[in-house]
């Protein structure tokens, strides 16, 4: 049986193309998997190389990670991960999808690098985060604001550096100085009520600022990361590499298992572990079960935002069945805890299989009825068609993922482009739409729901016999690789480097919504504020509730802070505008 490294390498032509174009700037290449290569390049040429792969070879920016490799080779390292899929000519010659990681070294005494964001807009958030967490300054970056760290975080304390802090150091949680300038608006009848962002009525904190002209949104800005938990640092210090799957499960309350699989596969790839086939099928089944409950949640929220609360309740009632399905298969409704490095922990027995197949049948019937009712509701099309357009060019520039991207005409799904677990052995269909609007994204999720049901049924029936866990493998310090999964919201991708102490040296985990937030402001433009909650919900973000929204009327030069519930109510009822 061929081991993973004996399979032929995929993507050699892209490496050859950049060697051709950039000559000696391309220094070394090393392959972590047949379709994953890390190419070390000269730091100053790196932006041009990334741009060339992105726009001239059909590349999409999946991840950018920085790593403090000063203990290893004396430098910081940057890793720009691109999923390179070929330009038209290369695709015609033969489709090859390869993860190319462009690596460059940053000297420790001059921690700066030329920013890629002016050339490839998708890199903007990643570079801001690198600057916050490592103190490596991107020169020429268009947005200098902090992304992750709060305003009163000490200036030269960089959390992810290896020598950053004595753990006994506890900076003051707040400062006396008011660092945030509120717009003070004078005028008759203008009331400003400061709330939050951490307020007891909100689920997840985030601050949105909509710039409006009358009712139309001219631009939007938002600030997130109020509940940044420092998981990447946690994984390096508080637990061993084989306990991290349990942490990865808790990254997200909806796509936790996707993160778990992404992490586990990244370490398995780094160590060259062949996961048994039966384990692959079990992972596939659980990933699809997760997709079921996530898409039902989004469909329910879509109902809620257009005012159809009965539909919302019915979708959530039916969703209970998918939660029960998860409980049957894993012992818990969420945070499945089913992976270890090398496979899964529980098998699927005949009794469970019979019950789950029965539930799939019931789900198909009930959700069919509900989706038909939803699509027949008079105002659904009016409220969602042509709303929140993500133009294909904006999508190409910002690399969003998942249904958000597929709604704009790109048939990109990691299960097809970079197959993992059993997706290359189970036939299924990718759904995409050309309409670029909220309706398109919602319809994609509905169609994917039924496709997931079919996949669960097929996998349950076709699962091969055999072991479910590899026990006994060689641990290699400093081995690294990528793990990736098409979570319900899109591509989750993790980059892990193992340390020499049974712990991770570096873990960069990028959730799918991270790539979907930057293009959101383009999707909000030219829509009315009553559509804003629906548009935000259509990217199905990992936070869909914001605590307050500031609405700035640029023409009248007036700012009003309205509670989110008000905005939501206005979105549903469409009368008694909170701006009046």
């Amino acid at each position: 049986m061929m081991t993973t490294m004996e399979k032929p390498k995929v993507g050699l032509k892209y490496v050859a193309a950049i060697r051709n174009e950039f000559g000696l700037a391309v220094q070394e290449e090393s392959w972590q998997a047949p379709d994953q290569v890390t190419v070390t390049v000269d730091l100053n040429t790196m932006p041009a190389i990334v741009e060339s792969l992105y726009y001239h070879h059909g590349g999409w920016l999946s991840l950018v990670a920085a790593n403090d490799e000063r203990p290893l080779n004396g430098n910081f390292a940057l890793y720009y991960v691109l999923s390179v899929e070929g330009n038209e000519q290369e695709q015609a010659e033969g489709r090859e999808n390869c993860y190319m990681v462009i690596r460059s070294l940053v000297p420790p005494l001059q921690p700066e690098f030329p920013s890629v964001a002016p050339r490839v807009p998708a890199a903007i958030w990643y570079e801001r985060e690198i600057r916050d967490m490592f103190g490596i300054q991107p020169i020429g970056m268009p947005d200098e604001r902090r992304l992750v760290l709060p305003d009163d975080w000490p200036a030269d304390l960089y959390p992810l550096r290896k020598d950053t802090m004595d753990y006994r150091y506890r900076p003051e949680p707040t400062t006396e100085k008011e660092t945030y300038e509120f717009i003070n608006v004078e005028g008759e009848g203008i009331v400003e009520i400061p709330l939050g962002p951490l307020h007891m009525t909100s689920d997840e904190p985030g601050h949105f600022r909509l710039f409006v002209d009358g009712e139309h949104i001219v631009d939007a800005d938002y600030r997130l990361f109020y509940v940044h938990r420092g998981m990447e640092k946690l994984a390096e210090t508080r637990m061993t590499y084989d306990q991290v799957p349990f942490l990865a499960d808790r990254i997200c309350g909806i796509c936790g298992y996707a993160h778990n699989v992404a992490y586990s596969t990244s370490v398995e790839r780094a160590l060259g572990i062949e996961v048994p086939a039966r384990a692959d099928y079990i992972r596939t089944i659980l990933l699809e079960v997760e997709r079921l409950h996530s898409h039902l949640l989004n469909l329910g929220l879509a109902c809620h935002f257009i005012g159809f609360d009965t539909g919302f309740m019915q979708f959530f009632r039916v969703r209970e069945k998918t939660m029960k399905m998860a409980e049957l298969l894993t012992g818990t409704r969420k945070t499945y805890g089913m992976n270890l490095i090398g496979g899964v922990r529980r098998d699927i027995l005949k009794e469970q299989r019979v019950q789950v197949l029965q539930m799939c049948k019931e789900l198909r019937e009930e959700v069919n009825v509900l989706v038909a009712i939803l699509l027949d509701t008079p105002n659904i099309v009016q409220r969602t068609s042509t709303i929140g357009r993500l133009e294909p060019q904006v999508a190409r520039d910002y690399s969003p993922v998942g249904p958000t991207l597929r709604g704009s005409g790109f048939a990109r799904d990691m299960r097809v482009i970079h197959p993992y677990v059993a997706y290359d052995r189970v036939p299924w269909k990718t759904y995409y739409k050309e309409s670029c609007d909220v309706l398109g994204r919602t319809l994609i999720r509905a169609e994917e729901f039924f496709e997931s049901l079919s996949m669960v049924e097929r996998c349950l029936v076709e699962m091969p016999e055999g072991p479910i866990l590899v026990e006994g493998f060689n641990y290699k310090p400093y081995a690294f690789a990528l793990g990736y999964v098409e979570a319900p919201r899109g591509e989750d991708i993790h980059w892990s480097m193992l340390g020499d102490n049974q712990k991770l040296y570096r873990w960069r985990c990028r959730a799918s919504s991270y790539n979907n937030w930057p293009p959101l402001r383009y999707m909000l433009r030219n829509n009315t504020i009553s559509d804003a909650p629906l548009i935000v919900a259509s990217i199905d973000p990992c936070y869909s509730c914001t605590e307050r929204v500031t609405v700035v009327d640029v023409r009248k030069k007036k700012a009003t802070i309205i509670p989110y519930k008000e905005l939501e109510r206005y979105g549903r009822e469409r009368k008694n505008s909170p701006l009046k």
């Binding site: 818990t332 529980r346 009712i373």
Partner: protein, 183 residues
């Protein structure tokens, strides 16, 4: 038309609310509830303590009193069942109890004390008495010839330091032969 379909569906479904906590909630077989501990089976080997991802399990050794205390704090437990997986004697298993709310943190901690065994040669404490007994029982079951079995068991009753010293005469010629007299 859609309204009619909707009303039909709503009427068909009826009331979906479960009257919990006035009725018991049935959980699936294999449900992950809180870990149930059986101190009579436990040998205080600390495998579960090493495996626990959120550090809910703890082991503290008190050399003065010659005891080792195992404890679990349910406030940290994430119901991952790694403790159950690594336990060599089945002393801890996840049950189906999920109702763990309590008015005091102390209610969420369970402790068990175990005696430590002392080395037959130097007298230092080096392992829990029950884990020692467990290893001796395993050696009995291993079916070694009686002469070497007794030697092995005598070694096991000593601390690692003494074990190394006492076993040296047996090990030395083996190592020398392996290195072909170069040592």
């Amino acid at each position: 038309m859609p309204m009619l379909k909707l009303i039909k569906e709503v009427l068909r479904v009826g009331n979906a609310t479960v009257p919990y906590p006035f009725v018991k909630v049935e959980v699936s077989p294999g449900f992950r509830g809180k870990p149930e501990y059986d101190p009579t089976q436990c040998i205080a080997c600390a495998a579960c303590v090493i495996a626990c991802p959120p550090n809910a399990l703890n082991m503290e050794t008190d050399l003065e009193s010659g005891t080792r205390t195992w404890s679990i704090f349910y406030g940290r437990c994430v119901y991952c069942a790694r403790c159950e997986e690594v336990c060599p004697t089945g002393a801890i298993k996840l049950g189906s109890d999920f109702e763990l709310a309590s008015f005091s943190r102390e209610d969420l901690t369970i402790r068990a004390d175990f005696r430590l065994a002392s080395c037959t040669r130097c007298g230092a404490y080096f392992a829990s008495a029950k884990s020692l007994d467990h290893v001796l029982a395993l050696l009995d079951q291993a079916g070694l010839p009686p002469e070497s079995a007794e030697d092995r068991k005598a070694l096991v009753r000593m601390c690692p330091e003494c074990r190394r010293k006492v076993d040296l005469p047996r090990v030395k010629p083996i190592v020398q032969e392996a290195f072909d007299g170069r040592l």
